[in-house]
């Protein structure tokens, strides 16, 4: 059975003054799918993510989060975050930041359980009380992932979040994402330059090149296509 669509892009385009970034982008993403968004720097991957996050208004077409999935919640994991190494902000505290709303300043018992569950799921139990500023690159990425997951998203965007990690940590993080995808039917968009990782961990690809967007099952992403995409 095919999963329900969660996100639909209809003739989507973004143009900055005198600079068309991308245009006529059509895409349907279904629940539980894992997509890699690939393309060289400056091609508009981040612009597309900002459009999906409603931080940028498209100049053409539209983004629709489909009603078949009630209440689409997006978790976003960026590559970098500007967090002072001296802040007394533990990883546990950092994860809890995402639990906002018109509530009391402190977390309720229910919310603390929620945070603890995510800490365990992401393998951060040993590190939970360490200041986030003192964590390693891989530990920070795990904490960013945990923060994105604490509100139980059904769409997770990894925006080059493995780019600065060593191969072992990268694999560890993506294994974790794969496990969450299978267990929670989480939809994942993985923005990356790392083609082997995309081929290993994603189901579909969207390759952005200046003036052209190509998509398909990841098995059809051949080396020729990648070479062509990177040399347009």
């Amino acid at each position: 059975m095919t999963n329900a669509p969660i996100l639909k892009l209809d003739h989507l385009g973004v143009t900055f003054p005198n600079n068309p970034v991308f245009s006529d982008l059509n895409l349907t993403i279904r629940q539980g799918e894992v997509w890699s968004i690939i393309g060289k720097n400056g091609v508009g991957k981040t612009t597309l993510m900002r459009t999906l996050l409603h931080q940028l208004r498209p100049t053409q077409g539209k983004v629709t989060y489909l009603p078949s999935v009630n209440d689409v919640r997006i978790g976003y994991v960026p590559q970098f975050r500007n967090i002072d190494a001296d802040y007394p902000l533990t990883i546990r505290d950092f994860i809890g930041l995402n639990l906002t709303g018109w509530k009391l300043p402190w977390l309720s018992a229910k919310e603390r359980v929620k945070v603890q569950r995510i800490i365990e799921q992401t393998g951060l139990t040993e590190l939970a009380n360490r200041p986030i500023g003192q964590a390693s690159g891989g530990e920070k990425q795990k904490a960013y992932l945990a923060q994105a997951l604490v509100e139980a998203p059904n769409l997770l965007i990894l925006d080059e979040s493995t780019a600065s990690l060593d191969p072992v940590t990268k694999t560890e993080l993506l294994d974790l994402v794969t496990e969450l995808n299978q267990r929670l039917n989480l939809t994942v968009l993985f923005v990356t330059h790392d083609i082997p990782m995309a081929q290993k961990y994603t189901h579909q690809y969207l390759m952005m090149t200046p003036g052209k967007v190509e998509q398909g099952p990841i098995s059809q992403l051949t080396d020729d296509k990648v070479w062509e995409g990177e040399n347009v």
Binding site: Q55, I83, L89, D93, L97, N98, L99
Partner: protein, 265 residues
């Protein structure tokens, strides 16, 4: 010392100031807004001078100027790359205006000194009451917005992605800082107010393990500075702002040294 009414008032006012500055300081440090706080202090000086010129209480002039300008500063400096330059320009303009208003009001240099450096003698019971009300407003708004402010202050990227109204939060926060500046300037003066809004929290960040802990420690450090400063000023007759500045600066340098030792180990 407590047999004098002005000292009782000064201690009451000092306690309110320390609590407000300890709490607000945590967010000021997390948002890297120390320089902006300094500018608001100078705007406070200009406002107080305008109050004197207009025949109002200096606190009311200060409130008017700091609150209005915090909204303008917030709009101008929404983009961090132009924050420094915009802040410097506004700072220069308001110091100049402060001097002009004092000159127009025909007040002498000692009056300017008391606005700039604060005074414990002039604080009345009604001043304390007004400070208490203003502080309650700040505390209630911080309590209601706490989760949003904490998220935006400690993880701005995350807050933006979450879709929090970060620009509105930033302006609201600046208005709260403006209120705190106006309240605290009563004792330490407008020129040195940023001491209490930045140093206790900057010191606390090296010792605390959580944001809540940082807040409690910042309040404690501000209280120690204000109470000791008032006591030393009473017995020596030297300006209270000097003692508060010296105590808070010593705390900060000790914390910095301690942190370096920890890093070296």
């Amino acid at each position: 010392m407590f047999s004098y009414e002005f000292m009782r008032n000064a201690f009451a006012a000092g306690t309110i100031i320390a609590v407000i500055c300890g709490i607000m300081g945590v967010f000021v440090i997390a948002r890297n807004m120390s320089f902006l706080t300094h500018t608001l202090s100078e705007i406070g000086f200009s406002g107080a001078a305008f109050g004197v010129f207009a025949g109002w209480a200096p606190l009311n002039g200060m409130l008017l100027f700091t609150v209005v300008s915090s909204v303008i500063v917030g709009q101008l400096s929404a983009r961090s790359e132009r924050r420094e330059a915009a802040t410097s320009a506004i700072s220069a303009l308001f110091i100049g205006m402060g001097i002009l208003f004092l000159s127009l009001a025909n007040k002498n240099a000692s009056y300017a000194t008391s606005i700039l450096f604060g005074s414990v003698i002039g604080i009345s019971v009604s001043d304390v009451r007004q400070m208490l009300w203003l502080s309650l407003v700040v505390l209630i708004v911080v309590f209601v917005l706490y989760r949003f402010l904490k998220f935006d202050s400690f993880d701005h990227t995350g807050a933006r992605v979450k879709g929090l109204w970060t620009n509105a939060l930033s302006i609201t926060f600046l208005v709260l800082v403006a209120l705190s500046v106006s309240v605290a300037a009563q004792i330490v003066g407008s020129l040195l107010i940023f001491i209490l809004l930045t140093l206790p929290a900057a010191t606390a960040k090296y010792f605390a393990h959580t944001v809540g802990g940082m807040m409690v420690l910042a309040i404690a450090l501000a209280l120690i500075g204000v109470w000791s400063g008032l006591t030393l000023s009473y017995f020596t007759n030297y300006p209270v702002s000097f003692f508060i500045a010296a105590i808070e600066a010593i705390f900060y340098f000790v914390a910095l040294g301690w942190q370096r030792l920890q890093t070296a180990e």
